[in-house]
């Protein structure tokens, strides 16, 4: 089986810089508590240049670099970030296995779909660099070979052909073994993995036991550790705790971007798109605010979601500063992508989302809708309102491969004789009739309007089983100076009502 290993040097530092871009180039450390003492777990490049070392106390490190900033090291957040990267890569690799704290293996068996293993490496690095990660990738046949070369080798990406592992590993230093065995080999005066591989198997097994034999086999390119793919979480959720409570939108944006990038990467890896999301803002010191995000068109584009979220948040009033946020995908669907044509601006959908969000915030969710026919004869209830979700655009060159546009739902014949405007409540009208029952005129809008023409009746009745039965005789009446109107005579009280206008 061919495997790739993606390694990020000083992963926690990279993650911190992505979350807080202001830290780029600044001295800072991530600290963990060891036996009651705050010790450096990871340091930035400028901190390392100042002499800060891993394991040093924060006090000692601050003495070396007075401008040093420190943040808590949270292994569970590092793991979550790694899982996010792994899921993001699932569009290229069908499975991944974490190698905490700073790398992961991925299944490279689908490399032929990405222009070979070199192409796969390049694509993996490109996807990572889009989100700001800098890493090294090695594809090999064994887990140890891939990991050791990615962590200790020089090139950014390399492919080790089948059976070439021992030769590729030979120049690596003994520290690449990363286990207690390296001390035993170092005691023998060995410096590289190639020298270890050159030892006779029997002698190594006799002196080092099973562990020595395993290390020796690895150096010869014989690692047999199985690849166990990570089980994916069913719930798509990302959370982030802010270093200090955010009182304005600006600091929150960076956190949002991080979370959205990660979540959209995961969605993209699964070829899913978010339909509905909930953003929970944890307030300081207590309480929370939930901001629902409903999308007109399902998407997995972080940029668009960020724009939408930013807009929604600008209208939300919070009772306190934000201490953390949780973003959860409540509903998702298959991501069918978006077909743009020449001249289309890629941000076309973003504009739609933003304007819908803006209107929903200002007017309320119920003020925006699309209509769908309802199977009823009562005219005023002939449609229902639904959340506006337009179908995806399908444009392109006419051809056999072009999918046909979905046929519109047929409209019942009777709907073709309905007025384009329907009054919210039918209005009573005073009519003038002859002794024989002929309709002569009606009083509408404070004026007497003569009936010019009349067609009807169309009898509609029903709901006798309900609390509101109806029985009406509808007429299309052309009133002088007004135009055609839809009038009915109610059987319950015998009066005439104006219900619609053929405008």
């Amino acid at each position: 089986m061919r495997l790739g290993f993606l390694h990020f040097s000083r992963f926690p530092v990279q993650r911190k810089v992505i979350e807080l871009p202001e830290l780029a180039g600044k001295p800072f450390v991530l600290v963990e508590e060891v036996r009651g003492q705050q010790r450096v777990a990871c340091a930035s490049t400028s901190a390392l240049k100042a002499g800060v070392k891993q394991g040093m106390t924060v006090t000692a490190a601050t003495a070396l670099e007075p401008a040093l900033r420190h943040f808590p090291y949270r292994p569970e957040e590092e793991r979550r970030a790694l899982v996010g990267i792994g899921e993001m890569l699932m569009g290229l690799a069908p499975g991944f296995q974490l190698s905490e704290p700073d790398g992961l293996w991925f299944d490279a068996s689908a490399a032929h779909l990405a222009k070979g293993e070199e192409g796969l490496c390049a694509k993996v690095l490109a996807q990572c660099s889009e989100l700001g990660w800098r890493g090294r990738v090695v594809v090999a046949s064994e887990k140890f070979t891939a990991r050791a070369l990615a962590r200790h080798g020089a090139p950014r990406m390399s492919v080790v052909p089948e059976g070439e592992s021992a030769r590729a590993l030979a120049p690596l230093p003994l520290s690449a073994l990363e286990g207690p065995e390296q001390t035993a080999f170092a005691a023998l005066g060995l410096m590289t993995l190639g020298e270890v591989a050159g030892l006779p198997v029997g002698a190594v097994t006799a002196r080092g036991g099973a562990a020595g034999m395993r290390a020796h086999a690895r150096c010869r390119g014989g690692d047999e550790t199985p690849f166990i793919a990570e089980v994916l979480e069913e719930v798509l959720e990302e959370q982030l705790t802010l270093e200090w409570p955010a009182e304005s939108l600006e600091p929150l944006q960076f956190a949002l971007k991080t979370v959205l990038d990660r979540l959209c990467g995961r969605l993209g890896g699964r070829k899913r798109a978010a339909v509905r999301m909930n953003l929970t803002l944890k307030l300081d010191p207590s309480g929370q605010a939930v901001v629902p995000l409903t999308l007109a068109r399902p998407t997995a584009q972080a940029k668009m979601l960020l724009e939408l979220t930013r807009h929604r948040l600008s209208d939300v009033r919070l009772e306190g500063p934000v201490a953390g946020l949780i973003l959860r995908v409540e509903e998702d669907c298959e991501d069918r992508g978006q077909q743009l044509s020449l001249g289309d601006a890629p941000e076309g959908d973003a504009a739609l989302e933003v304007v819908l969000s803006r209107l929903a915030t200002a007017l309320g969710e119920d003020a925006l809708f699309m209509a769908a026919l309802e199977d009823t004869h009562r005219p005023e209830e002939a449609y229902e309102t639904k959340t506006f979700r337009p179908p995806p655009m399908r444009r392109g060159l006419e051809g056999e491969l072009l999918q046909p546009v979905e046929a519109a739902e047929p409209v019942p014949e009777v709907m073709r004789e309905r007025p384009s405007r329907m009054l919210g409540t039918p209005a009573t009208i005073d009519v003038e009739m002859t002794a024989s029952g002929e309709l002569l005129a009606a009083r509408l809008g404070g004026r007497r309007r003569r009936v010019m023409a009349l067609v009807g009746p169309e009898r509609l009745s029903g709901d006798w089983w309900d609390a509101r039965p109806y029985s009406r005789d509808y007429y299309r009446v052309h009133f002088e100076g007004l135009g055609p109107a839809w009038v009915f005579r109610d059987a319950r009280d015998g009066r005439f009502y104006l219900q619609g206008l053929f405008d």
Binding site: L342, G343, R421, G437, G483
Partner: protein
């Protein structure tokens, strides 16, 4: 050889420049939106409703303004574009819109709760450029008020938004509250002839031009020769409005459940005869 390569690179650069220009330009797939109603399209200077502009349809309550707007939206939907209807009075009847060819899935209906939000909503929708056609219904306000009149500033904002978004904005206005459209079309229902449309204001010329849109063009599904409201009145006895059977007031409990189907109130037929027949069989 190098000359050929140079020529190719020049062509590629020219194409790239063209693509850049296309992407930078406002969306204009259709310079004008043809409604499909021939008489109406021929009246308009561009052969259709111009995109990136504000067009006002001004007329009485039932003068065909909404029908023409629905035709324009149906035409945009045939191109796969989205449309929006800012429904001030809340009177748009979607089933009739569907019958006119409007795709309900591509029509966003917005019903603001106050008159002040009408113009603002339309500005947002038009400026986004996501909708090919936006209809702003100002014939009445959301709370039943008479025609909503736009302030000059709102009118200017709407015009700017239409230009920027490249969308068509159709204003539906009442006779007492005309708007500030770049082009104003007066609509009037003629008794048996059809719908009269006149260009009242236009920067592209054609002022005073008038056309008559036959009812048949707006309602093609009606039987040939028959127009529901244009036909001569039939003889008096046929036009007579029939006296509808009035429902009886709720009766006493022993007559059945009040407001139930009339049949329920009728006395049950006797079963004695059939029972007697059954017993005879045994």
């Amino acid at each position: 050889m190098s000359a050929t390569a140079e020529k190719v690179s020049v062509t590629v650069e020219a194409l790239k420049e063209q693509i850049r220009r296309l992407q930078a330009a406002p969306r204009k797939y259709l310079a004008a939106l043809r409604t499909g109603v021939e008489a109406f399209d021929e009246l308009l200077p561009g052969g259709g409703l111009p995109l990136g502009q504000v067009v006002e349809l001004w007329g009485e309550a039932a003068s065909g303004r909404t029908s023409l707007a629905l035709r324009a939206m149906a035409s945009a939907h045939r191109e796969g574009r989205l449309c929006a209807y800012v429904d001030g009075p809340g009177e748009l009847y979607p089933p009739a819109a569907m019958a006119a060819g409007v795709d309900p899935a591509r029509l966003l209906i917005v019903r603001p709760k106050t008159a002040e939000q009408l113009a603002w909503s339309a500005v947002q929708l038009v400026r986004s450029g996501a909708f090919a056609c936006v209809v702003l219904d100002l014939t009445r306000g959301p709370k039943g008020a008479s025609g909503v009149r736009l302030s000059p500033a709102e009118g200017k904002r709407l015009m700017d938004a239409a230009v920027r978004g490249g969308s068509l904005l159709l204003l539906l206005t009442a006779p007492e509250a005309p708007g500030d459209g770049m082009m104003r079309l007066r609509t009037e229902a003629r008794d048996d002839e059809g719908l009269s449309v006149e260009v009242v204001r236009s920067r592209q010329g054609g002022i005073g031009a008038r056309t008559l849109v036959p009812w048949k063009a707006l309602y093609p599904e009606l039987e040939g020769g028959e127009t529901p409201w244009g036909a001569e009145l039939p003889p008096a006895e046929e036009v007579t409005v029939p006296e509808l059977p009035r429902e009886r007031p709720p009766s006493e409990g022993h007559r059945g459940i009040p407001w139930q189907r009339p049949g329920r109130d009728a006395p049950m037929p006797s079963l004695r005869a059939s029972l007697d027949a059954g017993s005879a069989l045994h």
